[in-house]
């Protein structure tokens, strides 16, 4: 009996408290509309925090947070608020649901993030219908900024072939590899990349003699490695990521392919997560990506230092992307003095963002709102400190999504 009474009293008191609080809360009704009092600018940050992309996503979110923090979460005197959501990629439907939540419930002014391409495609379609800008950090599916492009989607990373085409032309022409075997995971992305190698290499005077594909989750690479040996190529090009990348590099060495066939790899195989686990197996391979912590510029050095200090770990490439993308958004917001409600101006400002210098060197959007930037070709080498890292051997200048045919005339 007694407890029921107490409970009821508690309930009443807390109800009263809630009512009082909500009445006392300022800002909802009629505060003055001067710049200082404007509601915060809200940015949705969408990453696959759990699941396959947990590791890169953690870095992406941390990189973005660092950039916003450097700006004190403020632009032109107006506060910036970020809302982080988990798209649980590769679950595309969850990604769209989370984007909806950010737009419809949180009322964000822009969304950034997304690593997994299919999620990127789906969310981009959705953002088109609600007319809210989406700035993709990875999601490299070509169509997003080509056939399916629209004014609200931007991409700061690259479109599928943007790096692989110029890279394979370069290695076949300049490094003298004429017969190449490609080995990639079996997905749209993997097959596209392998075809770009074939295309690029042909332009460089070489040839892809065999394309091998294995399921994304392949417990054991050994059967494929024997295949590669049977072909006896000049060099092997490989695309794997995460645990599979580690497995691949390790077995490549164990089965004696390392040293026999030079290894050319997509940047996902030379990421910090991979190098930390199999430094010996990775040493000596030639890799390429649009960002490397080894890029020698004061902005990049400062970023690597600040990031390492704040999070107690060196940044992965995804961290650089989170950071750069947040910087792009901040630059656009700065240009419009934080007046994000003027959507046309905000979009125009985003399109016009360009950096003369930065963690990736010169950087800008093309007419299709996809990034144009340098691609770094680097060798994985043991540095003076005994740690394995990147050493840039060549820079493919201003790579863009329609390389080398040039932009289609429209």
């Amino acid at each position: 009996m007694n407890t029921t009474k107490v409970m009821r009293a508690l309930l009443l008191v807390s109800f009263a408290a809630v009512v009082a609080l909500s009445l006392a809360m300022p800002g909802i009704g009629g505060s003055p509309a001067e710049a200082q009092q404007k509601p915060p600018i809200k940015i949705g940050v969408l990453y696959g925090l759990t699941g396959v992309y947990a590791f890169p996503s953690k870095h992406g979110v941390q990189g973005a947070a660092l950039a916003f923090e450097e700006a004190n979460y403020q632009v032109a005197g107006r506060k910036i608020e970020t809302i982080v959501e988990d798209d649980q990629s590769p679950q595309v439907a969850v990604g769209v649901t989370k984007a909806r939540k950010l737009v419809e419930k949180d009322r964000v002014h822009a969304v950034m993030g997304i690593i997994w391409s299919p999620t990127g495609v789906a969310v981009s379609d959705y953002m088109k219908t609600v007319e809210v800008p989406l700035v993709l950090t990875e999601a490299a599916a070509r169509i997003i900024t080509q056939e399916k492009r629209h004014p609200y989607v931007f991409r700061t990373s690259f479109a599928s072939g943007q790096m692989t085409l110029p890279f394979s032309a370069y290695v076949c022409k300049n490094l003298g590899y004429k017969r190449i075997v490609t080995f990639a995971f079996d997905s749209v992305f993997g097959r596209e990349q392998a075809d770009y190698v074939a295309q690029g290499c042909e332009q460089g005077g070489g040839k892809v003699i065999k394309q091998l594909f294995a399921p994304v989750r392949t417990p054991d690479m050994a059967p494929y490695l024997a295949q590669i040996q049977a072909e006896n190529p000049d060099a092997v090009w490989a695309l794997w990521s995460g645990i599979a990348a580690i497995q691949f590099l390790r077995q490549y060495k164990e089965f004696g392919l390392k040293g026999k066939y030079p290894l050319l790899t997509f940047g996902s195989l030379s990421g910090e997560d991979v190098l930390a686990q199999v430094p010996d197996a990775a040493e000596g391979m030639i890799s390429y990506y649009f960002y490397t912590t080894a890029y020698d510029a004061p902005e990049n050095k400062a970023f690597v230092e600040a990031y390492t200090k704040k999070y107690n770990m060196p940044p992965a490439v995804y961290a650089g992307q989170g950071y750069l993308t947040a910087k792009v958004i901040l630059a656009a917001l700065e240009a419009i003095k934080g007046n994000v409600e003027d959507k046309a101006a905000f979009l125009a400002a985003l399109r016009n963002v360009s950096f003369e210098r930065g963690i990736r060197g010169p950087w800008r959007f093309d007419a299709f709102q996809n990034a144009v930037s340098d691609v770094y070709v680097f060798k994985v080498e043991r540095g003076a400190d005994g740690k394995v890292g990147h050493k840039i051997i060549h820079v493919l200048k201003n790579a863009e999504q329609y390389w080398p045919q040039g932009k289609p005339q429209r």
Partner: protein, 284 residues
């Protein structure tokens, strides 16, 4: 020529890993009629634990012991505390093991994080052997040896000990076995714990090849289920032969017809099931 040897060794080592997983799965199912979906999670826990032990102490043997012992305990706990209350309630059991799968795999994510990790090899077996034109890692031979030793031990136990006789009787007819005075609940606990231990050994042995990783664990569990289905539930001999079959077919299939890598596994399974719905050595 060495191409074929190389593939055979690869296939055999993969087959032995499958056997370690499938043997436990098959025995548990045959005797207790429990589809233990948490089997892959046990494998996962063992591979992560042994990874930590290996990093900490550098001793592979210790890693193997700790990994196997820990999941044996988890298996005991699962069976004693939960599963034995649900005897004969198949749906509830499947749900329960499914729940354990989530809890255990989330726990490993929580403790070890989402970063991909591969276990270092024991120093003694870290190198590679040259075979004609090609090289292959010595560790694979160790995996094959461990698999064969475990298979022989299990076979001997099943064939020549009273414990083995009881298990065989239980698989054939649980009610009759109980009627003859065999303490079935205790037998169940023992077999479940042993199955967990085998999954643990598989997790540790597979660590350097397959790695400690959620996806890989599920992938190999899928293969283990294929083995159990082909071999027939509850049959050790079936599990062993089906492991060889699946391991070799998978390896040679991938090497010869890389475009059809999943097909080469599931097509034979479909054919076996069409001819013998209970699997090669299963009882009707």
């Amino acid at each position: 020529m060495s191409f074929w040897y190389l593939q055979a060794i690869t296939g055999l080592s993969f087959a032995m890993l499958l056997f370690l997983l499938a043997a436990g799965l098959s025995l548990i199912f045959g005797l207790m009629r429990i589809i233990n979906l948490a089997h892959g999670a046990l494998y996962l826990v063992a591979s992560y634990l042994s990874l930590s032990v290996m990093r900490g102490t550098g001793s592979f043997l210790l890693a193997l012991l700790v990994g196997a012992a820990a999941v044996t305990l988890i298996g005991l706990f699962m069976e004693r505390r939960f599963l034995n209350r649900l005897y004969r309630m198949e749906l509830a059991q499947v749900l329960l093991t499914f729940g354990f799968l989530f809890i255990l795999s989330d726990l490993t994510q929580w403790v070890w994080g989402g970063e991909p990790q591969i276990m270092p090899k024991p120093a003694l077996f870290a190198g590679s052997l040259r075979l004609g034109e090609m090289m292959f890692p010595i560790y694979r031979l160790l995996v094959i040896a461990v698999g064969i030793v475990v298979a022989v031990l299990l076979g001997l136990i099943q064939q020549y000990t009273s414990l083995g006789a009881k298990v065989r009787a239980g698989v054939d007819d649980a009610e009759m076995t109980r009627g003859l005075g065999v303490d079935l609940p205790r037998l169940f606990t023992g077999v479940f714990a042993m199955g967990a231990m085998l999954a643990g050994v598989g997790g540790v042995m597979g660590g350097p090849i397959i790695g400690a990783n959620l996806d890989a664990a599920f992938e190999i569990l899928l293969f283990a289920f294929v083995v159990v289905i082909i071999g027939g539930m509850g049959s050790l001999k079936g599990a062993f032969l089906a492991s060889l079959f699946v391991g070799l077919i998978d390896t040679f299939g991938k090497a010869l017809f890389p475009e059809y890598s999943l097909f080469t596994i599931f097509a034979p399974m479909a054919i076996v099931l069409a001819i013998r719905p209970t699997g090669l050595f299963g009882r009707t």
